[in-house]
Amino acid sequence: MAGRWRDLGLAALGLLVLLLVPVVGAPPAIRDFIMFGMAYGLLAMSLNLLIGYTGLVSFGHAMFFAAGAYAFGLAMQSGKFSIPGAFVLAMAFTATMALIVGAICVRLNEIYFAFLTLAFQMLFYNIILGWVSFTGGDQGLMGGIPRPKFLGIDLADRTQLYIFCSVAFVVCIAILRQVVTSPFGYTLRMIRDNQERAAFLGINVTMVKLACFVISACIAGVGGILLTLFVSGAYPNFGFWTTSGEAIFMILLGGSNVFLGPLVGTVILRLLNDITVSYTSHTELVLGIVILVLVLGLRKGPLDLLADRWENRRQAKAQAVRDAADKDAQAGRDA
C-alpha cells in the first residue's frame, strides 16, 4: 500500500513539473518537444508492457498508435462527437482491433508473434493508404481536426491543450504503473519467465496475454490521440513499420527493466534525431549504426546496463554485510 501512495505522489509531482513548464515561460520549442515526447513516450511505455513485462516482442505496435489517431481524427471531423465522445470511441475502436489481432497472434510462439504483428500492421497501413475517400490516403487526414469546447476546456488554445495532454499522459503512466505492480503485472512477469509453470499454476496464459495486449494497445492509442490533437491531423506514417521499429529502439535505448526506461529512451531518441537532422540528411544511416553498436557492443540498453551494475553493487554490499555478520557470530561462538 505504501508503494502505491509513493507512486501516486511521484505521478502528482511529475504532473506538477510538466505543468510548470509553460508557467516558467519555456520557449514553444521546448513545449513542442515535450508534447511529441509524451505521445511517443506512451507508445514506447505501452510497448514495453508487452516486450519487457510479458516477453511478447511485438513489431506492429504502431498500428494501434495510428488506430487511435485515425479513429479520433475521423470522429472529430465528422462533427458528430464531442472530444470526450471521440476519445471513448477511439479507445473502443483500438481495443476491438487489438482484440481481433491479439486473438490470432498471442497463442503463437515468439518469432511468429513478432512478424504476424508486423504483417497486421502493414495490412492496416495499406488500408489507410488505399481507402483514399475515407482516410485521405497518403495525404493523411487533412483540413485540421476541429476542437470544440467541452466542460469549459478549449483545446484550440495551446496552453490548455498542453495541460490536457499532460494530464492524460500522467494518468496513462499511472495506469501502467498500477498494472505492472498489481498481481496481474506479476502474472505477466511469470509468463515471460516461464510460460509452462504459469499454465501449471492454473493461469489462463492466452487470456492474460490477450488482456495485456489490449491494455497496451489502448495506451498506445491514447498516444496517437495526443499526437493527432497536437499536429491537428493524422498521417499514414503513424502506422508505418518504422514507427514500430523506433518504439522498440526507444525501449532498447532506455532499458526494458526500469519502469520509466522507455520514456528516457524516447527523450534520447528524439534528441538524437534532432541532432542528426541538423548535421546530415542521412538520419537512418546514423540510427542504424547506433543500433548496431548498442546491440553488438553493449548487448543491452545503456540504462539497463547501469541498472544491472547498480543492482550488482548493492548485492555485493549486502553480501559483505552478511559476511561480516557471519564472522562476528563465528567469533562470538569461538569465544
Binding site: 503463437l108 515468439e110 511468429y112 521499429g245 532498447l252 543500433i291 548496431l292
Partner: protein, 300 residues
C-alpha cells in the same frame, strides 16, 4: 468490389491466361524470397527481417551490372552471387552474434540493417526510382496462347524461378551438403559434436538464402521500378507465404506463393481494395485450423 468483372474474366480464356501468367510471376518472385526466409529459419531458427533489403540490393546490383556489361544473364548471375556473398558477410559479422539472445536483439539488428541499406541505396543510386527496361534478349514478339498474350520474359522468369527452386530442393534432399544442413536444422550442437564445422554450414545456408533473394531482385529488375524501400512490402508477403506454407518447408513456400500470386492477380480484377484483406484472411484461416502451415511440421 467488381465481382462481375472477375466472372467475365474467368469466362474468357484470354483473360484467364493473362491473369495466370501475371499471378505466376508475382508468385515466383515471392517463392524465391520466401524459400530463402524459410530455409534460413528452418536451419538457423532466426527470422531474417532484412531479407527484403537483400532483394532490393539484388535488383540494384543487377541494374548496375546491366549498365556495365549490357548482358542481362551476366548481370542476373552477378547480382545473385554478389548478394549471396553479402549475405555470408551479414551472417558472420552481425547475425551470428545474436543467435543465442532473444528475438528482440535479432529484430533490432535486422531493423538497423534495413535502415542502413535503404539509406546507402539512396546515397549510391539516388532516391529517384530507376527502371532497367526490357533487356534486348527478350525484345521478342509475345507468345500467343489460347487467345492470351504472354511476354517472353514472363515465361523466362517463371521457368528460371522454378528451375532454381528445383535445384534448391535437390541440393537439400539429395546431396551430402543437404543432409548435413537438415541435420543441423534439427540438432546443431549434435552435428557439431560429430566433427562437422556447423558454423560454416550456417554461413553457407544464409548465403544461399541471400543469393535467392538477390536472384529474385535481378529477375524483378526488368519488370518493376527500383526504389529504396522496395524490399519491405515483398518481405511482408513472403512472411505470409511462409506462414501459409509452413515454416521450414520449401514445397510449402512454392504452393503458398502460387496461392498468393493468383489471389493478387485475379483479386485485382474482382476486389482490388480487398486483395490484402483476402491474403490476410487466408493466412488467418491457416493459422486457426493448421497453425504449423499447410506443409509444415509442428514446431518445437
Amino acid at each position: 468490389m467488381d465481382l462481375d468483372a472477375l466472372l467475365r474474366c474467368v469466362g474468357t480464356t484470354s483473360c484467364v491466361v493473362t491473369q495466370l501468367t501475371s499471378g505466376m510471376i508475382i508468385g515466383m518472385l515471392l517463392f524465391l524470397i520466401a524459400s530463402g526466409v524459410t530455409l534460413i529459419f528452418g536451419v538457423l531458427n532466426v527470422i531474417n527481417f532484412a531479407h527484403g533489403s537483400l532483394y532490393m540490393i539484388g535488383a540494384y546490383a543487377a541494374w548496375t551490372f546491366y549498365q556495365l556489361t549490357g548482358s542481362y544473364f551476366v548481370s542476373a548471375l552477378g547480382a545473385a552471387v554478389a548478394v549471396g556473398m553479402l549475405g555470408v558477410l551479414f551472417e558472420r559479422v552481425l547475425m551470428s552474434k545474436v543467435y543465442g539472445s532473444n528475438v528482440l536483439m535479432q529484430l533490432l539488428v535486422c531493423y538497423a540493417v534495413v535502415l542502413i541499406s535503404d539509406d546507402l541505396i539512396k546515397i549510391i543510386w539516388g532516391p529517384v526510382p530507376l527502371s532497367m527496361g526490357m533487356p534486348p534478349e527478350f525484345r521478342l514478339p509475345p507468345i500467343r496462347f489460347m487467345g492470351g498474350v504472354i511476354p517472353p520474359f514472363y515465361l523466362f522468369m517463371i521457368l528460371a524461378a522454378m528451375a532454381i527452386g528445383l535445384l534448391l530442393w535437390l541440393v537439400i534432399v539429395r546431396t551430402r551438403f543437404g543432409s548435413v544442413v537438415r541435420a543441423a536444422a534439427i540438432n546443431g550442437p549434435m552435428v557439431s559434436a560429430l566433427g562437422i564445422r556447423v558454423n560454416l554450414y550456417y554461413a553457407a545456408v544464409f548465403g544461399i538464402g541471400s543469393a535467392l533473394a538477390g536472384a529474385a531482385g535481378a529477375l524483378a529488375a526488368p519488370v518493376r521500378s527500383l526504389t529504396p524501400g522496395m524490399g519491405f512490402s515483398i518481405l511482408i508477403e513472403s512472411f505470409i507465404v511462409t506462414v501459409i506454407g509452413g515454416m521450414g518447408s520449401i514445397v510449402g513456400a512454392f504452393v503458398a506463393s502460387i496461392i498468393i500470386g493468383l489471389t493478387r492477380s485475379f483479386g485485382s480484377i474482382g476486389f482490388p481494395l480487398f486483395v490484402d484483406g483476402v491474403m490476410f484472411l487466408i493466412m488467418a484461416l491457416v493459422l486457426i485450423f493448421k497453425p504449423s502451415g499447410l506443409f509444415g511440421r509442428p514446431h518445437r
